[in-house]
Symmetry: C2
Subunit: 150 residues, 2 copies
């Protein structure tokens, strides 16, 4: 996907990322550092939890969606996140699962005097069985195309 | 803070975490894995960006708030996140910054027939200069107190 400025985005436009497979090692490393709850770290505790088996931290799964989107190289200049609305973790993600992101541009807002504008996307992550595991609205600050010097 | 069930939460209740200091090494490790944008990885690129110097990924800073809250040990059984609303990254977070979370319980919802309910919190993270760097509403599934067997 070619690198894009604010002017290149159109509401309704969709894109999709390749899949990312989450290893057990990476799930444990993330949970150890940021979400050290027994059901993210220990097989026996996970088996007794509502997840049934070791599951990944939701903060890791949403971070993976960021990685997948950044790897597409769509943003000209920084893809700066201003915020996120309506993040919902819909299904557990387990080590070995592969996630891909389907994204739709839902709003483009430009301000005349500013060198950038705001583009919002509805991002949805699906696992290898095409089950939607999470969704959110990302609010991104995106650069306008530089005007050539006179 | 003592471990809590659904019945123990009251709207308006507030708690605060100790601080967490983000090292440059951890900021780079997270960015490499989940948010590999030049301004999170390279000092020169960061100096030329709107951040002015190397800044942490917003997904890392919000993950740190999770770690700080989990470390308080408040949730009896899993602290399962259902979702997040109104996440806003208000200020950059730089390596060396210390973050702490101030949280307020904003809603407690119980359903008679279910073994758990929903508690929402407004979480705000402040840096070492008491500047608010991010805020969000966390929607958590929390267990009810088990009823003793007859």
């Amino acid at each position: 996907m070619a690198s894009r400025y604010l002017e290149d985005w159109t509401v309704g436009e969709r894109f999709e990322t390749p899949p990312y497979t989450l290893t057990r090692e990476r799930a444990l490393a993330f949970a150890n550092e940021y979400d050290p709850q027994p059901f993210h770290l220990d097989d026996a505790a996970a088996a007794a939890s509502i997840f049934g088996r070791l599951s990944a931290s939701g903060w890791q799964t949403v971070s993976i969606t960021m990685r997948l989107i950044i790897d597409l190289g769509m943003f000209s200049g920084p893809g700066v996140g201003l915020g996120v609305d309506n993040l919902r973790w819909l299904r557990p993600v387990y080590p070995g699962d592969s996630l891909r992101v389907v994204s739709e541009c839902t709003e483009v807002r430009a301000t005349l005097e500013k060198p950038n504008g705001v583009v919002t996307f509805r991002n949805e992550a699906y696992n290898q069985n095409d089950v939607k595991v999470l969704s959110y609205v990302a609010i991104m600050l995106v650069n306008k195309r530089p005007t050539p010097s006179p």
